[in-house]
Symmetry: none
DNA sequence: CATGAATGAGATTTCATTCAT
DNA sequence: GATGAATGAAATCTCATTCAT
């Protein structure tokens, strides 16, 4: 009878995500968010502490989702490079899955990294920690087992992080895209890392 | 008696660059800039059209400097890979040369890419155009002459751009740095692109 | 306990009208208006788009009131001159009814007539259109029926408009007033327009 | 050899008159005036006390010119109505002679009439004094000598002032003009004032 | 006389946030 | 839970006016 009790909190989050992504955090007003969400401004303050809190929740949720997907990547694979391949895939797929969130993180976080307690800084730190653990694990094992060339560990982790970050940004910012990004990235890394990469393919 | 003839316009630009880099464009007020520059607020408006103009000038100057350095990269080299190596070096060196400008560009531009006439969008477009021309040139020639593997052109240009962007961002954002970034990046690319990369080194 | 439910929007309009009239539009600040209206500055912006909007509303309302009164002037009268008499009366009476509005229109509009889309220009144009229609109607009919001398139509409409405008301004600007303005104006016009004006009175 | 030493003071006055007329006093900045006059801002302050002073001089000069022309109207004429005719002509001709000055006075003075010591108020007062003296003189004599109908003196002076003011405004504001304004005005008044106006013409 | 540069004072406007109901 | 109305605090920008030279 009553209109289906929609989840206003979710409406607000969605509206905010879209607007933040489209106009930037500072460029978006709470009034716009309320209108987009079909509610009035004070409702935002009923559900959230304020505009900053809104942003925080969005970022937390987005990173949590990413981390959770990262956690489900198979830990047992035939080769170590497969794990790296999976990580590349995850990075590129996640953008398709939550484009606004990624765009928001990619476009807004950089200018907020200065605050050491801010959610951006904390999230990025955690992200790096996880990436490093994941990649260092693969590389170390792969090198030990003779699958990979003997590359410097830290610097290569760093490089792969930079590459992944560059790729996710490229896609997140909706810059013009070329075909075969994922395959090319994978092959580029394979040739560089895997011994006898040329014999197999 | 006469106050040292300082160039206030430069002072303002410098103060603005630092503050924008440290706090973001929106997070910086003209009052802060004026104080940092040791002048009063209206002086900003005497020399510049407004806050946006300040930002525009900074970005224009930074990109111009980068482009000019890119233009002086040697166009004749023994191998094509050397050119790519030079480009990587340039990217990593330029950050050291104008850290605030790069940080500003890297942290503020993403959120301003929506405006198709904005200076960020225009600069990034030009940047991509130049990178693409440079890289596509190297790759094509290198492949034709048998120096490089036969990689897909557009996608590899794209990938290298992403990598360079990731590297510059990593450094520009002053994230923790590891040793040997440049060498690692160069070797990573060499192994992936150059035939017989393993025989020589 | 509850503060008397005053209509703040009306308070603002009233305060603005008075101040604009007394000090001119440019000479009046939003702060003054807010103080006069017993509210804080932002309230103005809650109810109106801005200072210009305030002015626009006042002018629109004033002209609308005038036009509406003009529309209620009797269209059937014994003589055509009576209609002109009614118009003169209306002009002089309206000033008493909304002195500030008239003063504002009379004192501020002239300097804003340049903007072809501004409310002043549009209102004055509409005013002239209506005056012309009204007067030309009377004169034409009066001449045709032999009530009036055969005067040139357009030029006389023009002249009567100038006279009415001069009268309304004189009164609107609160310049010193003499007795019998209305009667004198009516008789002046009657003698000039009506045949045998001297026989009857 | 040197460029002919133009009178910069005059240039400034001229520029200011034009700009004030075109954009209003408050809408015109001293910077605009200086540019229009081909000088720099401080030069204005060398020649004048400030922006207000500029306005004052313009108004004083314009009124002085008008008054001086009024003083040269023939004091001996065959009929008293001729004097009124002359006054009407003067009003309409003066606009052609100094359109910007008149436009400025007509459009800007109304909003400045409140200040009893301001130049506008003083000029308008003087204007009214002179008009009244002139018109009252004509009417009184005309009535005494049987040339005019026996109209109420003060009120008719008032009415004629309003008419003249209305006419000058109409023309000064560059509103659309009809043909035969002057003749129509003269005849309108003649019919109303002069006995046997219909026998003669 | 003239100017490039500067400034004090303030104007309009915006916006996140909060009451009172 | 929700809202219409309100506000404190500030931000950007303007401008007449003045120095130092």
């Amino acid at each position: 009878m009553a209109r289906p009790r929609v989840n206003k909190k979710q409406d607000i989050l969605q509206a905010a995500t879209g607007l933040f992504a489209a106009q930037g955090f500072d460029g978006t007003t709470t009034l716009q968010i309320s209108k987009e969400a079909g509610i009035t401004e004070p409702v935002i303050y009923y559900h959230f502490k304020g505009k900053d809190d809104l942003f925080t929740r969005i970022i937390i949720t987005a990173f949590a989702k990413f981390f959770s997907q990262m956690d489900t990547l198979p830990s047992k694979t035939e080769t170590e490079f497969e794990k790296i391949e999976n990580l590349i895939s995850l990075h590129l797929d996640i953008v398709k899955e939550m484009p606004d969130e990624i765009y928001l993180a990619v476009s807004t976080c950089p200018s907020r990294l200065k605050d050491p307690e801010g959610i951006c800084r904390r999230s990025v730190r955690e992200m790096r920690r996880r990436l490093k653990a994941y990649l260092a694990g693969c590389l170390e094992k792969g090198i030990r087992q003779g699958e990979f060339h003997s590359v410097p560990l830290d610097a290569t982790v760093n490089l792969l992080s930079a590459l992944l970050n560059g790729l996710i940004r490229q896609r997140g910012l909706k810059l013009k895209e070329v075909k075969g990004v994922k395959e090319t990235a994978v092959e580029f890394c394979r040739r560089s890392l895997v011994k006898n990469a040329f014999g197999h393919r």
